[in-house]
């Protein structure tokens, strides 16, 4: 989307791909030393060799050290780190492990509404039971323990709840969980014997004043052995988001905490079936967790690029929220983190009616299949899909309807990213504003 990649990362990757460049004086020494170290750990000194299925060992060690630094010194065992093909691969792998049973004993997995549809898709594919818990829109999309409790009790009647998934910072909502909330969730998981899956791929994307990223692992360990020795946790991270934005490389990892050793054996076996994660992605992850230090030649440029990317995102988050909230009929919660805005849109009854009558346009079948709330079994389109189609046709702006992520009945939303450049984003927001007013008038 026009975001510039971090120079240092791309230099190291180029050096790893074509080691002759190690003789090229145009590359800085710190990039070269990292490349050499990575290549030494690769079979035959090449990115083209398979790695072990859990991921290159020194990279897992570097990831462990990164986690320790991030979490104020709480120990991390590299053996608990599994490198993966983006975070998605690791998430699906964990879910594969967890899903079993039939009928009443079929595994249930708790997931937020709204959520990133990888979860609902994976659960559907695995035949697991999706247990939806609603985030509080009126309270900045925060997580309410009472709602978790309600959802769980309800679910126990027809399945065997085993896991609880949290996305923090949230996608699509952008909320950043408070520390108190994280503690409450951990206590809940401990009481109810649930496996915690914390999707933390946006951990560097925190913008709002007063908001801070707290890793589930850190909070868990700070809650003392009563919890830190008992609660099972898998947390996920990736090179696709934050300030790196290197989605195409498919770099990622998961850290597992308190897994039964026998279960870990099964996990290790499971990942071996897909041979290994792409080695360039592993190499990239290594530099992400091992960036230039203050005394190294690439440090200044690196810090400048990183700061600029994150600062710009923060500005755009703010701008998006402000402009959208000026539109009558659009209400936008603060974009506290991540990369999206998920405003609520008020749709006139006539529009809702028209959506129900209209059949899904066949050329958009794929989007329909992926994002439609099929469980509703309604005829025609969701009203917010209808809205987004019209927006696309009239302005060329492509957003995703809230129905794809889940929302309370009778409410409608769309998700947009805050990734275009500031100038472009201003134009996009102005067009959305104009469209919304026109749409509202048209269907009044």
């Amino acid at each position: 989307m026009g975001q510039k990649p971090i120079t240092f990362f791309r230099q190291v990757l180029a050096l790893c791909s074509y080691p002759d460049l190690l003789e090229d004086s145009k590359f800085p020494e710190d990039a070269k030393s990292r490349a050499r170290r990575i290549l030494q750990a690769c079979g035959g000194g090449s990115l083209g060799a398979y790695s072990t299925s859990q991921g290159i060992e020194i990279i897992r060690q570097d990831v462990a050290r990164y986690i320790e630094r991030r979490d104020g010194g709480i120990p991390c065992d590299p053996d608990n780190i599994y490198l993966s093909i983006g975070a998605s691969d690791a998430i699906v792998t964990m879910l594969k492990l967890l899903v079993s049973g039939e009928g009443m004993s079929r595994t249930g997995v708790m997931i937020s509404i709204p959520q990133y549809p990888l979860y609902s898709a994976a659960l559907a594919e695995l035949g697991a039971v999706q247990i939806s818990y609603y985030l509080e829109e009126d309270n900045c999309w925060s997580l309410d323990i009472n709602e978790l409790r309600r959802a769980l009790q309800e679910a126990k009647k027809h399945c065997s709840p085993r896991a609880l998934c949290i996305i923090n910072p949230g996608n699509p909502t952008g909320q950043v969980q408070s520390r108190q909330c994280i503690e409450d969730v951990i206590r809940f998981a401990a009481t109810e014997n649930l496996f915690l899956m914390s999707d933390e791929v946006y951990q560097d994307n925190v913008y709002a004043d007063g908001c801070k990223f707290h890793s589930f692992k850190k909070v868990l360990f700070e809650m003392g052995p009563e919890y830190s020795e008992k609660v099972e946790l898998a947390s996920f991270h990736s090179t696709s988001k934050c300030y790196m934005g290197e989605c195409g490389f498919r770099g990622g990892y998961m850290e597992v905490v308190n897994l039964d050793p026998e279960v870990k054996v099964q996990l290790t076996k499971l990942v071996s079936v897909r041979l290994c994660p792409p080695v360039p992605g592993q190499a990239l992850l290594d530099v992400v967790v091992n960036p230039p230090q203050p005394d190294e030649p690439s440090y200044d440029t690196f810090i400048k690029e990183r700061t600029e990317t994150l600062a710009t995102l923060a500005e755009k988050a703010n701008m998006t929220q402000e402009i959208l909230n000026q539109v009558p009929g659009i209400k936008c919660n603060p974009v506290q983190g991540a990369m999206y805005s998920f405003p609520r849109i008020h749709l006139p009854p006539k529009a809702i009616l028209e959506a129900k009558v209209e059949s899904a346009c066949t050329q958009f079948n794929l989007i329909s299949v992926l994002f439609m709330d099929i469980s509703k079994g309604e005829k025609g389109q969701s009203p917010d899909m209808f809205y987004c189609m019209k927006l696309l046709e009239e302005t060329g702006i492509c957003l995703v309807p809230g129905s794809g992520f889940g929302q309370r009945d009778g409410t409608y939303h769309f998700r947009m990213t805050i990734l275009p450049s500031k100038e472009k984003l201003k134009i996009v927001l102005a067009k959305i504003k104009e469209f919304h007013q026109h749409f509202t008038d048209q269907y009044s």
């Binding site: 080691p19 594969k96 195409g248 498919r250 041979l275 792409p278 080695v279 360039p280 794929l366």
Partner: protein
């Protein structure tokens, strides 16, 4: 910590490859060598997987230059890179969103690369048309395709016919999906050929316990190193047509063919030449990858599958399935582009080796000639004492042999039990590197003497 013991039975039932035992030992020995604690050899030669680079073969310079330029476009201004590298990298970057390889791509792969692949297929098959719409780029493995075919429940459990021997990872992937494996034996005495009567026998046996849906063939073969004759391919296709089986043709070694009288013909090409009824009805998925062939870029994870004669609705569903996986790794996609559209004249596309009787002179080892791929699958005629000793150690005899081989010579190879073999027969999968052959010959004589 307790409830996780009730994890998915599909995972629990997946065969735990003995890879660990040998691999752990190999790693230990490598560490000892590092600390100068080994005298009889100074490196572990890893022949355990079809990994050219790990085995010491260098990557193709052109490939790595293009990759580097794509990763770090500042290199496009560099004088040191040849013009064709820059042009290729520039062209590829234009296909990426925002001109960056860091962007997600289309979940089925970059369109231009799929076009490149389909042109490659058309050239390879002497003009048989191939559409980019039928090409799906993957991150190397075949797992997504299996999802389409496999239903794991009850009496409707999907069965897949698998050759014995076959490489373990594929079997594991099937079991992971909950499929039933229906083994059919290749005929070692006749050069590891596929006999249709054996296919028929296996299918009928399979029908008693599951619902056979697909037939998997690996050509050129892994671990056997054979190339299927055209006649054999036609027989298999006819069989699939009669029995309404979905053909899974694993053709990842298609560009490693040796010997003057051997030629690779794709299943798709042969299918297209078998008359309009069969040609338009037999459903086929053929797989290729950047991991093998002359590039050997296993770590980049680039592969594709071409779907032939699939119902349009099923193809649409395939697209949906792929879309749940975001995008295939971009490094792998670049590798595929280069593999299917390599630089023109002057560059090697085929390794040229003459056909070799590799183990002709080693008593106690017999081996079918190497025709294609990276491996041979020699048969071990082990003395009774060795077999008894292995059984005492609760180990497969060929695993025992491989462990001793590793200890004595630093050669890491895989035992036949991992690939499947007829009862009471023993094999190991081997590479034909000269150095490895020497070490093996010396060891084998010693081993046979010790256990006679």
């Amino acid at each position: 910590m307790s409830f996780l013991r009730e994890i998915s039975p599909l995972v629990k039932n997946t065969f735990l490859s003995e890879r660990d035992v040998l691999s752990i030992c190999a790693a230990q020995i490598a560490a000892e060598i590092q600390q100068d604690e080994r005298k009889n050899y100074n490196e572990v030669l890893d022949l355990s997987s079809g990994d050219l680079h790990r085995g010491g073969i260098k990557s193709i310079t052109f490939v790595r230059q293009v990759l580097a330029a794509c990763f770090y476009p500042a290199l496009l201004e560099d004088d040191s890179l040849p013009l064709d590298v820059k042009q290729r990298a520039d062209g590829l970057l234009r296909q990426c969103d925002g001109g960056s390889v860091g962007s997600y791509t289309d979940s089925c792969g970059i369109v231009k690369i799929k076009q490149c692949v389909s042109k490659f297929i058309t050239r390879r098959d002497g003009g048989v048309p191939s559409s980019p719409d039928n090409i799906f780029i993957t991150s190397g493995s075949q797992m997504l395709m299996l999802k389409l075919l496999v239903q794991s429940g009850g009496s409707c459990r999907t069965g897949v016919l698998i050759p014995v021997p076959t490489y373990a990872t594929f079997t594991q992937a099937l079991e992971d999906q909950g499929a039933a494996i229906i083994p059919y034996h290749l005929c070692e005495e006749q050069g590891w050929t596929l006999q249709v009567e054996e296919l028929r026998r296996a299918l009928h046996a399979g029908r008693r316990t599951c619902n056979p849906v697909a037939l998997y063939i690996c050509n050129p073969g892994n671990p056997t190193g054979i190339i299927q004759s055209r006649k054999s391919i036609e027989e298999v296709i006819r069989f699939a047509a009669e029995e309404r089986l979905f053909l899974l043709a694993d053709e990842v070694y298609q560009s490693c063919v040796y010997g003057e009288d051997t030629e690779f013909e794709s299943y798709k090409k042969v299918l297209s030449e078998m008359g309009s009824t069969i040609a338009s009805t037999v459903e086929l998925a053929s797989f290729n990858s950047a991991s093998k062939g002359f590039m050997g870029e296993c770590g980049l994870r680039g592969g594709y599958v071409e779907l032939v004669n699939l119902d349009p609705a099923v193809k649409e569903y395939t697209r949906t399935l792929f879309s749940t996986r975001s995008s295939p790794p971009v490094g792998g996609q670049i590798a595929l582009d280069l593999m299917t559209d390599p630089p023109k004249p002057g560059d090697p596309s085929f390794l040229t080796f003459s056909e070799v009787e590799v183990f002709g002179e080693i008593p106690g080892i017999s081996c079918q000639p190497l025709k294609a791929g990276f491996f041979v699958f020699p048969c071990l005629h082990l003395p009774l004492r060795a077999i008894k000793w292995a059984k005492k150690k609760q180990m497969e005899p060929d695993m025992l042999y491989c462990l001793h081989l590793l200890e004595e010579t630093g050669l890491h190879v895989r035992p036949g039990c991992e690939f499947g073999q007829r009862k009471d027969s023993y094999h190991f999968r081997f590479d034909t590197m000269e150095d490895a052959l020497q070490r093996l010959k010396t060891f084998h004589k010693q081993f046979m003497k010790e256990f006679s």
